[in-house]
């Protein structure tokens, strides 16, 4: 029912650097590493390494931050132990290894990348098994024969908790770190609990996911050491800048900035036309500016009776087509659409949530 779990030996950390304020753990290996670096890039937090082999790095524009490059598993442990102040890890790792360690505080549980579901997988050939209830029956019948259902997983705690909650109490865990999907075919386990990424791996190993067998929907998360953040205003200030950039980036991802040229008598006319429809109101209303055109000798006008204006609105991705249609109907042309890189609000909600969770007021 339990299995030995070897806690990986944490990599030795370098000594504190001159002027270091905050240690930020960023995955360097494994499936989270590449997406994490891309994500930070997109947030404007580019990780800069002097050489490929270095274990630390810096972030442009954020002096005082030492990026510590480690495995996601180690980042979690180091944050919980207070050796790193904040870090990016996976929800799967967080829930498995620090279910409720109070030292760890979650700053972001939905960074939106490295998504994977932790699922219960059984052999395809078990055509009578499609739900947890079926699995409970199989476990019971194995037990009657003096055997126990063997579950291969690298998530013993999450698996045990989930199975117990679902009424499956007789099973034994077989600890495995990689190639878990092969365990049933190789005969050292009956079923697996694993992160399901692609259907291909499942099919190749003749496994299927139980229909109610999703234990956790995992993705990357940002965690911090509660004590370190509560005690140091200096650290919090750096964390605020990081959290704000992440928040503004994540919020911006769902938005486009649309600029159209419209012919109208005045700015007010353009504004009135666009405010009339929800599709072109944007977040707070259009920004309208005069476009100074070259005098066109063919129309003989001096460009005053009907001038060109540029109107810019911020629309969410789902309403983009709607907005374009409405702009066109209002006489818009030459419409350019660019993704929004950041969307900052008056205040950072996430940072305020963090302060509340830390029990700290202001700054």
């Amino acid at each position: 029912m339990t299995a030995t779990r070897s806690r990986p030996a944490p990599v030795a950390l370098p000594g504190v650097k001159q002027g270091e304020v905050l240690r930020f753990g960023v995955p360097s290996k494994g499936r989270n590493a590449e997406p994490a670096h891309q994500f930070l890039d997109a947030c404007g937090l580019r990780v800069r390494k002097d050489s490929e082999r270095q274990l630390t790095a810096t972030i442009g524009g954020l002096p005082g931050v030492t990026v510590v490059l480690q495995r996601s598993e180690d980042i979690l442990i180091q944050v919980a132990d207070g050796r790193i102040d904040i870090g990016i890890t996976g929800l799967d790792i967080l829930r498995e290894r620090a279910g409720e360690r109070e030292e760890t505080i979650v700053l972001y549980d939905d960074l939106g990348f490295s998504r994977a579901d932790l699922v219960v997988e059984v052999p395809d050939s078990w055509v009578d098994v499609s739900t947890l209830a079926d699995l409970a029956d199989v476990a019971a019948s194995m037990r009657e024969q003096g055997e126990s259902l063997r579950v291969a997983t690298s998530f013993p705690n999450l698996t045990r908790r989930f199975f117990y909650e679902k009424g499956i109490s007789h099973f034994s865990l077989v600890h495995a770190e990689g190639g878990i999907e092969a365990a049933p075919a190789m005969g050292f386990a009956d079923i697996t609990v694993d992160l399901a990424t692609t259907g291909v791996t499942l099919r190749e190993n003749h496994l299927k996911v139980l229909r109610n067998g999703t234990i956790l929907r995992s993705q990357s998360c940002l965690v911090g050491n509660r004590r370190a953040l509560a005690e140091s205003r200096e650290k919090r200030e750096v964390v605020r800048r990081i959290v704000e950039l992440i928040e503004a980036h994540l919020r911006a991802r769902a938005y486009y900035s649309v600029t159209a040229n419209l012919k109208a008598a005045s700015e007010q006319d353009v504004a009135d036309a666009l405010l009339a429809s929800p599709a072109t109101r944007g977040q707070r209303g259009p920004t309208v500016a005069r476009v100074y055109t070259m005098p066109d000798p063919s129309d003989g006008s001096d460009g005053r009776a009907a001038a060109w204006f540029a109107a810019t609105i911020i629309v969410d991705a789902l309403s983009l087509q709607d907005a374009v249609d409405h702009l066109r109907a209002a006489g818009g042309s030459g419409m350019s659409v660019v993704p929004v890189k950041y969307l900052f609000d008056e205040r950072s909600q996430r940072y305020e949530q963090l302060l509340a969770a830390l029990g700290v007021k202001g700054g």
Binding site: M1, R83, V127, V129, T131, A133, S169
Partner: protein, 530 residues
Amino acid sequence: VSVERRPVERVRGTQDSWAIEAQQMAAIRRQLEDSFTSFGYSRIEVPVLEPAELHLRKSGLEIISKLYAFEDQGGRQLCLRPELTASVVRAFVAQPPARLPVRLFSTGPVFRYERPSKGRYRQFTQSGVELIGAEGAVADAEVVFLAMHALDQLGLRAYSVTLGHVGILGQLLAKLGMSGRLRTFFVENLEEARRRGVAAVRRRLEDLDPELFEEHAPPFDGLTPQAGAASTVSPHSGSETEPGRGVSANGSATASEQQVSTVVSGLLAAMGGEALGRRSEAEVVERLIWKRRPSAGRATVEGAFTFMQRLAAIRGAPVEALANGRDLLAEYKLDDAPLRALQHTVDLLGEFGADLGRVEVDLGLGRGLQYYTGTVFEIDHGGLGSESQLCGGGRYDDLSRSLGARQALPALGFAFGVERIRLALESEGVTDEAVAPADVMVVAASPEQIAYAAQVAQRVRQTGLRAQLDVAGRPLRSALAFADREGFRQVVIVGEAEQRTGTLRIRDMAGGGERALNLADLDQLGASQP
């Protein structure tokens, strides 16, 4: 502060108990045990460490999902005990006493992975009894009466006793032909139905077994009290027989079953021989047929939900609740033996002298533990808020067999939560005065007299008083100030003159006066106390 220098913190959900609180805990334990002893129970000590198997086998999810289980250095699957009963019964099965019944009590820490809150801890103290080898209402009544008596002895007032019987639901499930996992599910969730309603239990089952609620039978066509018993739920139909127990759906394979078998064989052959792992093709086919039978348990399940809902609604004063219970059982044509047993227990309790004003009958009481088979009871206290339960118990006639005994043995017992009792007493204002850690402090006036002071302290102890020797090596004035703050009423002071003459000085801390005493007259020390 470096990681290595930080204070080591207490484990979440555990408590450090100091001074007055620790004294109160000890006093409650002692008084509970005195009550148990006065009814002829003898002490049994059982280990904190047990094989995880002991609790996985019969405790039920409520316990299993909170088990502190781990693998030890020898690769054994162990747990910290989550309760005492299973350990006591295990000890009993290993070494059955020559004569029955046996009355045993035990006290000690138990461990559950709870969400900690006031009155709910991950390590807490249970103190309880087991009466093994006695059946019937007299035994039931005596055990409930003992629990009430023990609380009365502690001076607790605002407690109430709730009686129930898990055999009623069990009887209906047997009549529905329900067995195995589903039966366990319903028995375990009776308590959930009582607390959160049947809808919550249904959602839980839907989550676990979505197929049970799909296709096949139309909704809610199942058991209605009158029509049901004869048609859909005949206990002789055999249609609910679990697979893997040697009986096919109705004794012999039908044509369609053979078709299923042929199709599955073909399918599995195409997948390759090894694909099934340790399961056999016959087993898969048998389960598949059992699963796909018409109205696969749906009607049965709906019938069980309906009954559960009605059962859980019956609670109140014994006379009234038992009457309502009899009506329900008559409607479902179920044997009312459980209600007669409860009635008898209540009557006996009254005759033993228990205050029946405190007793309620609640037929939805399930206790959430799988091993109970008959009468169950709980004692709650009004002053404790959401964690109001002080005591839980009941009859577990099959547990000894589940744990390896050759035959089932009628047995029942209960356990108190000692921390909760302390909180309950506190809420009623029944608390002890803080007492000084000792009656007398013995102080040497200078370091040269410390050996003499130690001898004097030992002589004081021989008179039956508690003596604390001051070992701090501080000036007399500081020692006296310390004794005063600690609440000592008397301090014995020995200096060079006292040592020479075999005497001592006694300082009365309240009045401030001093008098001299010969070592030989030390027994006067106690007498001088107010």
